[in-house]
Symmetry: C2
Amino acid sequence: MDDRLLFHVDGELVSADEATVSVEDRGFAYGDAAFETLRAFGGEVFRWEAHAERLARTCETLTLDHGLTDEDLKDRIDETLAANDLADAYVKLSITRGTQPGTLDPHPEIDPTVVVIVKPLPRGGVGGEPPYDGPATLQTTRTRKPSARALPADAKTHNYLNGILARLELRGTGADEALMLDPDGNVAEGATSNLFFADGAALRTPSLDGPILPGITRRTVIEIAEEEGIPVEEGTYTPDAVRSAGEVFLTNSTWGIRPVEVVDGIAVDGDGEGVAGPLTTLLSRLYDLKIEEEYYDGERI
Amino acid sequence: MDDRLLFHVDGELVSADEATVSVEDRGFAYGDAAFETLRAFGGEVFRWEAHAERLARTCETLTLDHGLTDEDLKDRIDETLAANDLADAYVKLSITRGTQPGTLDPHPEIDPTVVVIVKPLPRGGVGGEPPYDGPATLQTTRTRKPSARALPADAKTHNYLNGILARLELRGTGADEALMLDPDGNVAEGATSNLFFADGAALRTPSLDGPILPGITRRTVIEIAEEEGIPVEEGTYTPDAVRSAGEVFLTNSTWGIRPVEVVDGIAVDGDGEGVAGPLTTLLSRLYDLKIEEEYYDGERI
């Protein structure tokens, strides 16, 4: 951890090495906590309303009635960014059910623990350095997403072992993101990313009917594509459809759009020219432009 | 939390209100931690070897190579019990993957965080007060156990939301334990307990082939039954088989054997005499006798 950073814990700014929670906090004991990973561009959090809405849905799924307003949560993020003098940053906001008497049964009265962690990231927008290490290499894992009846996929919680088990399978394979399947063996998503692929002019992504996180960047990419008149199909796809696709890319709040160069050992080779095919390149440029306009006053346009 | 208690965190005894972990600890961030719940009788932990063995298997599943010996872990538990002057206690031992650089991907080099929490419990053995509030009322939940390909059921981890979601469904129903089904709709276990039921002279419990925690108390009950010549069948059962059973009981390390009086609103009524049928009563007595002999020098026999 970087001890020079300040984190926000339970209403206070504290140095990273003093940022702690009780060992009896349910966030620690059971992963009984909701979170959002956000990115700040030019001092402002990307798509705050969408994140706040998803966080509220996660808390509803967990019956975690924390009693805080979206404004209060936003203030804590803004204070943390300001205290660290960070304009371009990774932000993680967590709300736990706090410490409660007894063991597993949650009590309706909640004294939540709110944690904001920030880390510096490169500037986004036009000409920004991507915060990932080159294009991704995907590998289908044996570990599958849980069914919605076991753990709802649209809830972002501190129960993240499913993704960790998938990532552990990648050790020694050269792959850096898991291609995770749903219980029926159809394509779901990466361990920390949504998946898109394209054949010719149509963009495809697994539908939210499956066990898939409704990613904010996923939605932004769909909006951009629709604005451009690029057909977007949300459906059910086999791993083979991805392996044979001309273009594949991943999205999440930190990466934005990240091209994929290999799927299960097979090179993605849309136009024979290498990694990012024409649609991926176009969408990445439009995504950067959107961020440039919305968060950097278009200074590089 | 009880501030008069001392907990063991990262090699040190600290008061409960100062027992904390970093907000960047993977146990907090992702529930990336193994644990065991144990019970101490007369100052000694019940079936330590079996718990240590299961903990090692959980850590193997998580590729969490903590580098500590069973003796070291046992010493930390014993120190914590002694420091609190507790002979009869609830004990929770957790090992997390600690704080690591980067985000989701676990690094092979691990500086684990080890936490021991203790709480007083009533004496066990013959004439001991059970540490539960009367017989259990079971209710089948919509929340099902994840498949083994999503989250292995034999690993005891800080990813406990599946059980919490099941318990949340019980609010307002009068039930206090969930009857959780496997992905195929067969009976699996409770949110924190294994399930047994009986018809006539045969004892039945879901087989470990399903997504079921291999409970230490479950195993002890099977051993006791076999020693007594009671037939034990480990199989696959429908919820109807439990609803229509003459006797039903639950097991876990804290409760020992806990009778069930209602399943899905239907009274369990083996002999028409009330809650604990003859087999449950016999097994409970034999279980108490075993604890009395092994942990209290048989002082009440």
